[in-house]
């Protein structure tokens, strides 16, 4: 552990620890520093150059995301000149994408590019010209890819490599013709892609989006976000449930989830809509004349209690057995074992961990 060191940020003395970048220090101090290529889960990349700051002793501004703080460093973040250049950069970025409505902003939440556009109050008009990249639809069921809206920040490529370790996609070509593709340019399905969808949720534009969420934005009703836990394997990834009018419409990863830190797999990301399935049971069923027949709760509950009572009376406590779910919330498991032990009077209860 090294001692805390000090630097100057916009005239204020601030402390930092070794290895911290100027961007990290500035953001910690609540200073506005715009970025597009930055994601806290990824290695600093320094490509969007929006995070430039003025450093005393340097001829030209430096990108703060790649600049490690140094003892005594004197940094300015928000001069008029920097703001002007940042504003121009945002205009340049906007100019390389089409001007029509961004589906991401409409359906999922404002994308980073358009958030910056609003903040700097600029549009794409001044630098109109060629549109970079080519649109490329992919036949997979989950990930919308519209590279017309790509700004070549390569966060998708980097999250696929650095976080997921899948290396499914790569950057191709050079310069203006830079693109994103799988090895040899094939479809995502058939590549190393596991369709985990993490590229979608790091993408700062509408180039990548969740096919299940796109289109939802045009339906009226307020979308509520609720923090929860993925219902699949035992990892316990944190997710945000998106619902409108009491109906699930999508899942986004919780960036501060203690286990997953914003990562999800294909199941956690896209495997939520079974809850909306038409196959869901909606009424209690009781077998009548061989057929499972919908009945009221009272009827089903009374009948069940009465049957359990008579079996216990006739055959004793050990004629009953209960199996709790390893998938449902723990409160149910607690209730079932309490029921078995305190009401049926045996320890004949288990869960599904054996098979």
């Amino acid at each position: 552990m090294t001692d805390t060191m000090k630097m100057q940020l916009d005239g204020q003395e601030v402390s930092f620890t070794e290895g911290e970048t100027v961007l990290e220090v500035a953001r910690r101090e609540g200073t506005f520093v715009p970025t597009l290529c930055w994601d806290e889960r990824l290695d600093p990349y320094g490509s969007c150059r929006l995070c430039v700051v003025e450093v005393e002793g340097r001829r030209i501004p430096a990108s703060s995301c790649t600049l490690e703080a140094e003892e005594g460093m004197v940094v300015r973040t928000g001069s008029d000149k920097l703001r002007k250049m940042q504003s121009t950069l945002v205009e340049m970025v906007l100019s390389e994408n089409p001007g029509d409505e961004c589906p991401r902003c409409r359906d999922i939440g404002t994308c980073e590019v358009h958030e910056l556009a609003e903040q700097f109050d600029v549009g794409r008009e001044r630098f109109l010209g060629a549109i970079s990249n080519a649109s490329k639809e992919d036949s997979n069921p989950f990930l919308l890819r519209d590279y017309d809206r790509c700004i070549s920040c390569f966060r998708c490529v980097r999250i696929c490599a650095e976080v997921e370790g899948d290396y499914a996609i790569t950057m191709t070509g050079r310069g203006w013709n830079k693109g994103i593709a799988t090895a040899f340019g094939g479809p995502l399905m058939g590549s190393e892609c596991t369709l985990c969808g993490q590229c979608i949720y790091t993408c700062p534009t509408g180039a990548l989006a969740d096919k299940k969420m796109v289109g939802q934005g045009s339906i009226p009703g307020k979308v509520e976000e609720t923090r929860s836990i993925c219902p699949y394997c035992g990892t316990g990834c944190s997710i945000n449930l998106h619902a409108r009018d009491g109906k699930m419409i999508g899942v986004t990863p919780a960036l501060d989830g203690p286990v997953n830190e914003g990562a999800l797999c294909v199941k956690g990301q896209f495997g939520f809509d079974f809850v909306n399935s038409n196959d869901r049971l909606t009424m209690p069923l009781v077998r009548k004349e061989g057929q499972l027949t919908p009945v009221s709760w009272d009827e089903a509950l009374d009948y069940t209690a009465q049957r359990f009572k008579s079996i216990r009376a006739e055959h004793g406590p050990k004629a009953f057995y209960a199996i709790a779910s390893g998938r449902a919330p723990g409160e149910g498991a607690y209730m079932l074992q309490k029921f078995t032990r305190a009401v049926m009077n045996s320890n004949q209860v288990d869960n599904c961990s054996r098979a």
Partner: protein, 585 residues
């Protein structure tokens, strides 16, 4: 990271087995596979990915970065013609159509495509078919270009350092030895500190453009405790208008090899790598001969020059990418990574090839070392005029009587170089302006032709000396068009990593195109082109991640400085008169 390759290509297996034991084999492996198959088959790339432990997607992406790696079989090659600043002064349309019908003795598809400058501006226009270069400046003059025909530097009568023996047959080891070559390494081994002192004293700075003191660089690497260390010769000269390294390597290879060996023995590196641009196939051949000769004679190898210390040199070919001349891109390229520039610091002296201490110097820099060691630091320093140390080689092309390479004292006036040594314009037209640094140093206009050719004087004019390429434009040329061509080259060669350069170079090119089109009747859509240009220049020049983008504004800023009224004509939709007539007013 799929490991299993269903069908192994035995040729690729053989290439991998043979080359994987060598230092930095990545590029050579790909070239060897392409040389054999004519392209890079998918299976072969999977094997390469496997062996290098690179994810196949990353390898694929990296391969697509380069102009000259091919992923599809192409049994009959296309015709590729240079389209950049010097060559587009010629009638490319006419040459293209002649070449299609000409009997070049090589099969081609008849398809013509444009390529970036292959460093042959002294014999325009280079035409590439497969791996063979031809050149023809006008219809009826398409002849095969070979290494042997590479023009020797014209005589100037000045005292030279690099060129002092170049016309005397120093291309062979015997010839070089006869002129006292290969003395330096022994000095470097016995007293490395003395060599560093000499280099510092001589004032020799990096000739690739950045101008960092060579002695300081070598000393930094020498002082690093980590190893192994590497010496890298940057022979990826790729800037439009620059062809000096090609001529130095063609005619004086031993000076360069000796310079590298000195660097190795001074710093403790045992491996030297020449990163040679793909577009110099003749040099690949002749340089390998020189290395083999030197190795056989014991100048290189396990006991270099009898010092008892090993020093080996190998060649690694690029594959067509200007950005790989940027030293950190070059390192990534050698390592098999995506050839984007790295963040600096750290610098290559501490974290170079494979993150190890590395000297990266330009061909011209290495070539100067043996002469400095032989004749002394003071001699070299005194070659310069005034405060300037030494000489520099300039590649002169365009509207000039004797295109070629000239070694002149640093501080020589531009006018003397052009008029006295290179013979002025061929038909007596006035010089309207010249490009600097190749093209990325901007322009010097007619009014400033007396400027001294040293870094500070050029900077004062708002231009940059850089790597010493100068393209002459006579009074008949349109300098807005010239600026457009320069910017177009940078846009073509921008690596695409940082936003200001990737978008900015394209937008500036488009803006200039729009102005030029406007004069032919197209409506201008921009209301404030100069304001927008200034904003783009500011972002490019202050926020770009590497020198390519940072230098780009030199072009338009000097254009605006020297030819403001021409620009105004364009903005207002007037087609400018011929430049000469305007200037005469």
């Amino acid at each position: 990271m799929k490991s299993e390759v269903e069908i192994q290509d035995p040729v690729t297996t053989g290439i991998l087995d043979r080359l994987m034991t060598q230092p930095a084999p990545f590029l050579e492996v790909l070239h060897a596979i392409q040389d054999h198959h004519g392209y890079l088959p998918e299976n072969a790339l999977k094997q390469v990915a496997d062996r290098f432990k690179i994810p196949i997607s990353e390898l694929y992406g990296t391969v697509t970065f380069y102009h000259f790696f091919q992923l599809e079989p192409k049994p009959i090659p296309d015709i590729r013609i240079c389209e950049n600043s010097t060559c587009c002064l010629h009638d490319l349309e006419a040459i293209s159509s002649e070449v299609v019908d000409a009997d070049l003795g090589v099969a081609h598809s008849g398809q013509v495509e444009k390529i970036s400058c292959p460093g042959r501006c002294d014999t325009p226009v280079p035409i590439l078919v497969g791996e063979k270069f031809f050149h023809g400046a006008r219809a009826g003059a398409v002849a095969e270009a070979t290494a042997a025909e590479m023009l020797l530097p014209p005589e100037t009568g000045l005292e030279e350092c690099l060129f002092r023996d170049i016309r005397d047959g120093v291309g062979t080891l015997d010839g070089a030895l006869a002129h006292g070559a290969w003395q330096g390494p022994a000095m470097a081994a016995s007293d490395p500190q003395q060599v560093i002192a000499q280099l510092k004293e001589s004032g020799l700075t990096g000739r690739g453009g950045a101008g960092f003191p060579t002695g300081v660089k070598w000393e930094a690497v020498k002082n690093e405790s980590r190893g192994p260390k590497y010496i890298i010769c940057n022979a990826d000269e790729s800037e439009v208008g620059c062809f000096k390294d090609r001529v130095l390597m063609a005619h004086s290879p031993h000076a360069m090899l000796e310079g590298m060996a000195c660097a190795g023995l001074v710093t403790g590196a045992e491996i030297g790598i020449v990163y040679l641009r793909w577009e110099y196939p003749e040099i690949l051949e002749s340089l390998q001969i020189a290395i083999d000769e030197a190795t056989r004679a014991g100048m290189l190898g396990e006991d270099a020059c009898g010092t008892g210390i090993p020093f080996h040199i190998l060649i690694r070919r690029g594959a067509g990418a200007y950005i790989c001349g940027e030293e950190t891109s070059l390192l990534n390229s050698l390592e098999g990574k995506h050839p984007f520039p790295r963040e600096k610091p750290p610098f290559p002296t501490t974290h170079g090839l494979f993150d190890l201490p590395t000297v990266v110097n330009n061909v011209e820099t290495f070539c100067a070392v043996p002469a400095i060691l032989e004749k002394g630091a003071a001699w070299f320093r005194d070659l310069g005029l005034g405060e300037n140390a030494g000489t520099r080689v300039f590649s002169v092309s365009g509207d000039i009587t004797r295109p070629g390479n000239y070694e002149v004292p640093v501080g020589t006036s531009l006018r003397e170089l052009l008029d006295t040594h290179a013979g002025g314009t061929p038909d007596g037209k006035a010089i309207q302006g010249v490009t600097m640094a190749g093209i990325s140093g901007g322009f010097v206009g007619a009014a400033d032709l007396d400027v001294a050719l040293d870094p500070a004087s050029l900077t004062e004019l708002g231009a940059m000396l850089g790597a010493g390429g100068i393209i002459v434009h006579d009074e008949s040329r349109c300098m807005i068009q010239a600026a457009r061509e320069s910017m177009h080259f940078l846009a073509q060669e921008s690596c695409g990593k940082c936003f200001p350069c990737r978008i900015g170079t394209v937008r500036v090119t488009e803006l200039l195109d729009e102005l030029i089109d406007h004069s032919t009747g197209n409506p201008v859509i921009r209301s404030h082109p100069l304001e927008e240009l200034a904003d783009l220049e500011e972002v490019l020049g202050e926020t770009s991640a590497c020198g390519l983008g940072l230098a780009a504004p030199f072009i338009t800023k000097t254009m605006k400085k020297y030819w403001p009224d021409v620009l105004q004509d364009y903005i207002e939709g007037r087609r400018p008169e011929r430049q000469g007539e305007r200037d005469a007013k």
